[in-house]
Amino acid sequence: MGNQTKTVEERTRKESNFRQILHRLQKNKIAMTGLFTIIILIVVAIFAPILMPYDYTEMDMSNMYAKPSLSHFFGCDDLGRDIFSRLLYGARASLSMGIIATLLSTAIGVVIGSAVGYYGGWIDNVVMRVLDIVQAIPGMLLAIAISAALGSGFFNTIMALSIGGIPMTVRLLRGSILSIRNQEYIEAAEKINCSKPRVILKHILPNSIAPLIVSVTMGIGNTILTAASLSYIGLGIQPPMPEWGAMLSAGKTVITRYPHLCVFPGLCIMIVVLAFNMLGDGLRDALDPKLKN
């Protein structure tokens, strides 16, 4: 602690936790690989219109099922459309659905979870039983049911995807809160006349958010997978809007003759889910200061 005390005493600005966490994360090569991959994918998604060599709707029947070549890096699909361009543009749908749906379910889950965890009592009982019922339905089936009821399309799919994630977030946050609610610093906060909302915002949430951050990053990967699955079976996003799952589905009938229609969308899905999982693992280690040797 000698070295640290020197640095601590010389500190002139508040060294936020964030920087300390980032520093720990930087040391984890796997996590950094995941992070860079995600950043690259996001950049690609944003600049897709500029990066794509062809328009994603441009059809060229003479190139139907064309194999990968220099002019078409990943080949063409059943309507002669360039797969590479469709993949680049499809990143938008997949990433945005995954991120937005997960953030939405997290936001709702945090509000419910903190109220339920801090106040307890009958609200706790009622809400948890309702969530038990929701969780009893397998996630995929739930998403299918809601998606079928609402119809396909971007926003409807996001709704379908986010509802399934709420119970887990609530449970996670509630568990976190229950474990720190009886800590002495919470008692101390009440003793210095902290209002209940302030106790939740300043004392409870910052200390219970760590498992949540990990579950969010892993959740994004999972949500992307579910979105792809919905599109695969005909719900969710449909052509001509490119979406990786839908592209996978379109290629399934010719998989033996023209595997490139399935392989490249499949690889994309796999890479993005893997990247989020690697980042999530690394974040979990970096966020837990007690793991430090």
Partner: protein, 335 residues
């Protein structure tokens, strides 16, 4: 000081032990050139505060230090003639739990919560002695009775016992195989004072009956006075003073030892003010130059920061690591 012959026949002889821990960017010098001897049937006290390195010494003897991040940099440990650090893991396993046993500080975490206590003790017995399951359970019951717990309770689980009783179970387990050497790491710190008294009495009684030798790690000088024969005061991984209990308590010499005695609240004293040792224990990854204690020492001189003092013999094998001893003793004790 000791002849080679004496070295070999000493019950336990630790020579020049140094242990360090490496984490990402720093090296922690946990134990620095520690040497001491223990005679058979005696209790040796290792006194010092948190982080002084006492537990590391005990774990090094038992060879249960996780390597990495720990690393035994140097040293030899002779136990009943055998050098422990050079033994194979297989040979060491025969000694651990059998001839050398350890009691850890926290009884809450030392017992397996999903195993009955009788089973845990019996398991230890079966590992080291050739006996049947029935015989091992009988031995377990015998051990429980010896520590004052009714034998029928062997079928109960740890959570059904209070803190003091859990610690007694831990002691029963440690003594089940009649170890020659018992390492006790703050065995009573987590206990209430009346229970602590009971447990200490019991340990002393068992020790006497079986002629067990013991190393008692503690920060409580009262416990040392009650239970130990010889004492080493440990600071920043080094022994700064070593001697018999009488020598340390009647003639404490090292400034740290003096400081420890001075900062103790004493129920017999009327004084209103305590005299704490100034400053904080040093950072083991960044130890001061020269004497580790000199930044906090009221008697420090410039020379203290230059070189490490060697252990000087004050007479009758009372050792002390301080270059200013004469001046301190002449000038009388500082309040």
């Amino acid at each position: 000081m000791q002849t080679t012959k004496q070295k070999e026949t000493s019950f336990l002889s630790v020579k020049n032990l140094s242990v360090e821990y490496t984490s990402d960017d720093e090296v922690i010098h946990a134990v620095n050139h520690v040497s001491f001897d223990l005679q058979k049937g005696k209790t040796f006290g290792l006194v010092g505060e948190t982080g002084a390195g006492k537990t590391t010494i005990a774990k090094a003897i038992l060879r249960i230090l996780p390597q990495p991040p720990a690393r035994i940099k140097s040293g030899e440990i002779f136990f009943e003639g055998e050098e422990l650090l050079g033994l194979t893991e297989e040979k060491m396993r025969k000694i651990r739990g059998n001839r050398i046993s350890m009691i850890f500080q926290d009884p809450m975490t030392a017992l397996n919560p999903i195993m009955r206590v009788g089973t845990q003790i019996a398991e230890a017995v079966r590992l080291h002695e050739n006996c049947s399951r029935v015989q091992s359970v009988e031995k377990a019951i015998e051990m429980l009775e010896m520590v004052g717990i009714p034998g029928e309770r062997q079928r109960e689980f740890p959570h059904q016992f209070s803190g003091g009783m859990k610690q007694r179970v831990v002691i029963a387990m440690a003594l089940a195989c009649n170890p020659h050497l018992l390492l006790a790491d703050e065995p009573t710190t987590a206990l209430d004072v009346t229970i602590q008294a009971q447990v200490l009495d019991m340990i002393n009684e068992l020790k006497r009956k079986n002629n067990t030798s013991m190393i008692m790690i503690t920060h409580d000088l009262g416990v040392v006075a009650q239970a130990c024969d010889d004492v080493a005061v440990v600071y920043a991984g080094e022994i700064v003073e070593l001697g018999t209990k009488e020598q340390i308590f009647t003639a404490p010499s090292h400034p740290y030892t003096l400081g420890l005695f001075g900062s103790l609240p004493d129920i017999h004293s009327d004084s209103q003010r305590l005299y704490p040792i100034e400053g904080l224990p040093p950072d083991p990854s960044n130890l001061p130059q020269g004497c580790s204690f000199h930044p906090r020492c009221p008697y420090a001189t410039r020379a203290c920061g230059d070189r490490q003092a060697a252990l000087a013999d004050l007479g009758d094998r009372h050792l002390c690591r301080c270059i200013n001893l004469e001046q301190i003793q002449k000038g009388g004790k500082k309040p």
